[in-house]
Amino acid sequence: MDQAMFARFRKCAVEVLSVSEDQVVPEAKFGDDLDADSLDLVELVMALEEEFGVEVPEEDLEGIETVGQAYDLVVGKL
């Protein structure tokens, strides 16, 4: 995992979800660990799209439960 890239991802998550940096680890689950619901994820994806200049269609979010999955999804669009 590219640490600089993940740091950008983490910054978005910290701002949008009001969590601390050390909570944003690849295995963290959005629902259980980061108290994020489906609309929180929509907002996070908006921030990530802006940060990375990508577009993530809504249907791609199905089944995304962890930070690592979301990171891979976004980076995979680059």
Binding site: V16, L17, S18, L39, V42, E43, M46, E49, E50
Partner: protein
């Protein structure tokens, strides 16, 4: 209050306004200098963080909702917890325009960045019922939860309706009041272009040189309880809702009916509801927006109901600005504070009362008085009139 015969106690209130946050600061503000140099006055350095669990939660509440929950927190702290079934604890709240700032912000996002960037939280931020919804969720209040949107009369109507739910026996306690925060650029432009805002930057109610209002913002929240239940739990009863009036001008979307005929009828409805005569009333907290038309109609109405110079009249809008749907709640609280301090605050900003008016306006300095039932008027665009009578304990 007619209807059910149950008396309505006021046991707590909270306030957020540009002239002061919290009831003590607000009272000082009511007795302070009037606003100068503003078309719109905002609460400086507003910090919502004490009222929300996280920045995420506060960011997803429009400023109007932030004000509402802050004022509610003070009101509940003031009242203590009413000992009533939460199914019979209602929330009757008010706003004129709801989350206008969020609406404007997200329209700007839509235009600049496209549909995909519009916040998924816009709907619960802009909907006018969001402040009332937030209050009921915070305190677990499962009784009726309705929001009244009758422009500048909204929170006076809300308090009247809330009291009636208790009088009728449908609720044993109700949290009520109103919130507003419309001073974003679209709000200021809209009120400015309809020539409602003061071009000189001061609110001068009933002054010969009045030229419109200063847009205000804020929230006022009151806790109402059925009298015997409040007494039974040892609550500190601060006042009583004695009566309320509500009617319509059926005349014009913004201009009041000439001669204040709607306001005359409304004040008389409130008096009848309270079972009081004009001579029983000790003070009028006027709508007093400082627009040429409102103040002329209201001055005529007050003179007609209470006689020429028959009763002390004050308008607090010189210091609060016009907080639209929150105005009536701020003014109900101003009346309770005037009773507590045995002093009627002066009409800030006003120096020369319009010689056409035959009202006894409190100007220059506060006036000592013996607390008595007091009436507050709120007259909204759309021809909505509301009057509420609150009595001292």
């Amino acid at each position: 209050m007619k209807g059910g015969g149950r008396r309505v106690a006021i046991t707590g209130y909270g306030v957020v306004a540009p002239c002061g946050i919290g009831r003590k600061a607000f009272w000082d503000g009511l007795n302070g200098p009037g606003i100068t140099g503003h078309r719109s006055i905002e609460i400086a350095d507003w910090d919502p963080s004490p009222y929300f669990d996280s920045p995420k939660e506060s960011r997803r509440a429009d400023r109007v909702e932030q004000f509402a929950v802050a004022a509610a927190a003070e009101a509940f702290e003031h009242a203590g917890r009413p000992a009533v079934d939460t199914d019979r604890f209602g929330t009757i709240f008010a706003t004129g325009v709801g989350g206008l700032r969020s609406t404007q912000d997200q329209i700007e996002v839509l235009i600049a960045k496209g549909e995909r960037r519009v916040s998924p939280f816009l709907v619960p931020m802009m909907m006018p019922n969001a402040p009332g919804a937030a209050i009921s969720m915070r305190y677990g209040l499962r009784g009726p939860n309705e929001t009244i949107c009758t422009a500048c009369a909204a929170s006076t109507h809300a308090i009247g309706y809330a009291a009636r739910l208790i009088s009728w026996g449908m609720c044993d306690a109700v949290v009520t009041g109103g919130a507003e925060s419309a001073g974003c650029s679209i709000g200021v432009a809209s009120f400015g272009n309809m020539t409602a805002l003061s071009t000189s930057g001061s609110s001068r109610p009933f002054d010969v040189d009045r030229d419109g209002f200063v847009l205000g913002e804020g929230a006022g929240v009151l806790i109402l309880e059925e009298w015997s239940a409040a007494e039974g739990r040892g609550a500190n009863i601060l006042g009583e809702v004695l009566g309320a009036g509500s009617n319509a001008d059926a005349h014009h979307i913004t201009a009041p009916a000439p001669g204040g005929t709607g306001a005359i009828g409304c004040m008389r409805l409130a008096l009848t509801d309270a079972g009081l005569e004009p001579g029983d009333i000790g003070h009028v907290n006027a709508h007093g927006t400082s627009t040429p038309l409102n103040d002329a109609a209201e001055a005529a109405a007050v003179s007609e109901v209470f006689g020429p110079r028959g009763i002390p009249v004050t308008s607090t809008k010189g210091v609060t600005g016009h907080a639209l749907g929150a105005a009536g709640a701020l003014e109900a609280i101003a009346m309770l504070l005037a009773m507590e301090h045995r002093s009627i605050p002066p009409t800030a900003g006003t120096t020369s009362v319009d010689p056409e008016f035959t009202i006894d306006l409190v100007v220059g300095a506060a006036r000592s008085w013996t607390p008595a039932p007091s009436i507050s008027n709120s007259l909204g665009f759309g021809g909505h009139n509301g009057s509420i009578i609150i009595g001292p304990v």
